[in-house]
């Protein structure tokens, strides 16, 4: 069994065992098993890092065996510089999320932990799959645990949120399924993604395929104007669910653009790049402004996610290596930062049971240690140099300026809005005098919460100070992808 299979199936096996054997009266044992499962899942991804060959765009750690013979579907796994970091990121976030749900979840603990473990394995599968159908199976299967996570452990309006999440994203992916089948038939019965990359397609087919993929991936990212599900879902999802959603699930969509839309339909991608850039800029600027007026912390961070993901798609569609690498770096950084932001909100919510900014004020007086973490993550969210948030945004803006000064200019304005909404929220929640007795009674974070936030803080700081290991891994693959996308498929 290869390393990637281990990375996928270790958490899933632990999850299934928890589902089968976990009992509600043994919550503590269940939590420990879940933590061991998440840690094991993370540890098996570490040899990937030591074994990864830099400087090549080839797939590595490839596993390939026949899965469904009749449709020529293969269990074909591999990672390149584009997908590599997301495998580690997913496994890492999974550990954090298990810790985050430790005492907070008291109802159906085994199902909760199992959902997250299985979800994590499925998402790693999405990043590793080199077969179109295998990708789709993993991509869609993630809906089931996430639906249950939102619906069972979510907030008051959880049912609306769970349905909106499921149906909204299912609509997009069903259209993608039609495109996948079309490609399968055009490629004379092959679901192999590499074969699809080389497949010549005419302009009409490329446009249709591009938009079919767009339906799934733009909804997942989410790009403006199909982002409306995200704030609703984030608000109602439990803290862990929000963290995974923002940190990993949104990246599935962005990753889909890189693996499918761009290389399979390069001419359509070039043709519609201006549309994509426009949508990205709207996300960056307009949604940034929308974030500013939110009263609800989770909604604010949700809109901020949409704005940050706008940088990612902007970076992809200006077609230069700095922009694309910047987009990927931004995806990783946003994984750490948005995860941390949601977990911080969770810390407050667990104590006060309110997400309204107005319910807080002066938290720094009662929770100084926590406020320090929160300030650090807030700074990372507005892209302070030295934090992870800076690197990707800076690369994308630089690339955008190179591409077109005004686009660069417009995207850079987002740094101002980002600072405005994040710091204004920070000011209203944390600074000033203590405003009410809830805040007065707050207890500072305990050891568990400290570990959880510290893990993320270290990651954010490390990536901010030393982004080179991250970009080194992806350079060759990004260059390879751009070279591929630059060649027209029309002849």
């Amino acid at each position: 069994m290869g390393l990637l299979s281990l990375a996928i199936w270790t958490p899933i096996v632990f999850g299934v065992v928890l589902l089968a054997l976990g009992r509600d009266d043994q919550a503590s044992a269940v939590r420990w098993v879940a933590l061991i499962g998440a840690l094991a899942g993370f540890l098996v991804t570490l040899p990937l890092y030591s074994g990864f060959q830099l400087g090549t765009a080839e797939m590595q750690f490839v596993e390939n065996s026949m899965w469904i013979e009749r449709f020529n579907v293969n269990y074909h796994l591999g990672v390149d510089g584009i997908s590599f970091w997301f495998v580690l990121l997913t496994a890492f976030i999974n550990v954090v999320v298990v810790i985050a749900g430790w005492e907070v979840i008291t109802h159906k603990v085994s199902q909760y932990m199992a959902s997250f473990l299985i979800l994590s394995g499925l998402m790693i599968g999405v990043f590793c799959a080199l077969d179109g159908l295998l990708f789709y199976v993993f991509f869609e299967a993630t809906l089931i645990p996430m639906y249950l996570i939102i619906g069972i452990w979510g907030g008051p309006n959880k049912i609306y949120a769970a349905f909106k999440f499921f149906l909204y994203t299912l609509l997009g992916s069903l259209l993608t399924l039609v495109a996948l089948i079309y490609l399968y038939i055009s490629a004379n019965g092959s679901f192999d993604i590499a074969t699809w990359h080389a497949l010549p397609l005419d302009q009409t087919a490329q446009t249709a395929i591009f938009f079919a993929f767009f339906a799934a991936f733009a909804v997942k990212v989410p790009m403006w104007p199909v982002h409306t599900w995200l704030p609703d879902v984030h608000v109602e999802a439990p803290t862990g669910g929000s963290a995974v959603l923002a940190a990993i699930m949104l990246k599935l969509g962005a990753y889909g653009f890189l693996r499918f839309s761009l290389p399979i339909a390069p001419d359509a991608a070039h043709e519609w790049a201006s549309l994509m850039i426009t949508l990205s800029l709207i996300a960056v600027i307009y949604v940034g402004l929308v974030a500013m007026v939110q009263q609800d912390m989770k909604k604010l961070v949700a809109y901020s996610s949409v704005a940050h993901m706008g940088f990612v798609t902007l970076g992809f569609f200006i077609f230069n290596d700095l922009g694309m690498a910047g987009g990927i770096v931004q995806m990783i950084a946003h994984g750490f930062v948005s995860g941390a932001m949601f977990l911080s909100i969770g810390v407050l919510y667990d104590r006060v049971h309110s997400r309204e900014i107005a319910s807080y004020g002066g938290v720094v007086n009662t929770m100084p240690r926590f406020a320090a973490f929160a300030l650090f993550f807030a700074m990372a969210n507005c892209g302070l140099p030295g934090t992870a948030g800076f690197v990707g945004e800076w690369m994308v803006i630089l690339a955008a300026v190179k591409f077109n000064f005004w686009i660069g200019m417009a995207s850079a304005s987002a740094l101002i809005f980002g600072a405005a909404y994040t710091l204004w929220m920070f000011k209203r929640v944390y600074l000033g005098p203590v405003t009410n007795h809830h805040v007065q009674e707050l207890q500072d974070i305990n050891a568990r919460e400290f570990v959880m936030l510290a893990l993320l803080a270290v990651a954010v700081l490390y990536m901010g100070i030393n982004p080179k290991p991250f970009t080194d891994v992806m350079d060759a693959s990004v260059a390879g992808l751009l070279q591929h996308v630059a060649q027209s498929k029309l002849h």
């Binding site: 589902l19 026949m66 899965w67 469904i68 013979e69 009749r70 449709f71 159906k108 199902q111 159908l133 789709y136 199976v137 869609e140 299967a141 809906l143 089931i144 639906y147 249950l148 619906g151 069972i152 959880k158 049912i159 769970a162 349905f163 499921f166 149906l167 299912l170 609509l171 069903l174 259209l175 399924l177 039609v178 089948i181 079309y182 399968y184 038939i185």
Partner: protein, 495 residues
Amino acid sequence: MIDEISWITIFPEAVLLAMACAIALLDLRAQGPLRGYTYTLTLITLAVVALVEGFFASTGLTLYGFGNMVVADTMAGWLKCFATLAVMVTLVYGRPYAAARDMLRGGELFTLSMFALLGMFVMISGNNFLIIYMGLELLTLSSYALVALRRDNAQAVEAAMKYFVLGAMASGFLLYGMSMLYGATGSLDINEVFSAISTGHVRHQVLVFGLVFIVSGLAFKLGVVPFHMWIPDVYQGAPTAITLMIGGAPKLAAFAVTMRLLVEGMLPLAIDWQQMLMLLSIASLFIGNFAAIAQTNVKRMLAFSTIAQMGFVLIGIFSGVIDGNTISTANAYSSAMFYVVSYVLTTLAAFGVIMLLAREGFESEEIADFAGLNQRSPLYAGVMAACMFSMAGIPPLVGFYAKLSVLQALIASGQAMHIGLAVFAVLMSLVGAFYYLRLVKVMYFDAPITASEVVAGADVRIVLAINGALVLLLGIFPAGLMALSAQSVLQMLGT
């Protein structure tokens, strides 16, 4: 003539017939409210028959018997094997349910089920219009009686009446169509009808006239729009065990008859029946899915969902390409077969859970009755959720591959309009996802109305767990069942 009889072709049917009669007599010795003796005998008989059929199917032989009136090929073997297993599972789930409703005072449930199964066997193996019709009548007459088995229940009797009247009409349609074809081609034998049509000397109008009636009759049996009106009423009115008996295994037989009549008998008329099936399919997908949303009764909801699912099966059947290319034609038909088999598997588990939750004097038919099932029994909630996600076509459950194969067949047929149709079909399955998800929501997100334990006998528990596991496992390893369907259909087309 006598040397053409070839008894071996109907060996399983003979066993089934003999044992059905014997069990009807031996049932006199059965005691206890659950009729354990009859039950065990029936299950043993069915297990033997299923084994024999499975073994026969795996040999890959094609045998004709009784002067070409019956055929035993790989497709027949597998479909009969699955139908037998489906009836067994139905009886396992249905026995405690039936006993609690005073339906086990005699052993009719078992005997009639065996006769219904025999009818399915004859339909599946029939190679002659009259044989197919006979099998169909044996199946439907047994089914009418089964629906009316709870004779002091007004709802069940009403359902039986409705089923009988509409069913008789549909049989009439089918028979009328068959007689037209007989008149035009001069033969009842499917192979000879095929040859006669292929010559091109038979008047096309007459053939199409007969074809319309045959398609109507089949559409009724499959339960597709606009011949679907009986499905919701009968599904809801019949005792749940009987609903499963009607809604499970017979779909396999209906699929087989469709294959025999339309493909084996009237492939040269494919241009005509493909269009009819396409319209039926579009209407079924639309009406089935939208009507299911409005239902509050689970059985009624599943009835409309069945209509929609059969719409998908029809997609597989009408997507067969007719250009002499048997590989792509087989591709389409085998996707339909895979769809039907996985549909039956999922339906069995779903109805199994419904029956499990029903208690004496309580039917557990409303969606609200499933509230908080996850709190009461995570296992059964899990099985039901797997069924719902599977019917909605979410991977990695078996229903996804069923939808994938039919959509693949549809797009592979290479017509631009078919891509539009594929988009329509996936949009309809999005509508479908809504009501399937609603049941999951009720089970997982709502608080339970009652905290009572869900009790079940060991046989029900084990079979239901295996059934639920199969819905998932066949989703993770679908290759075997797909290969089996492909091989069955290829062999049928090859002969």
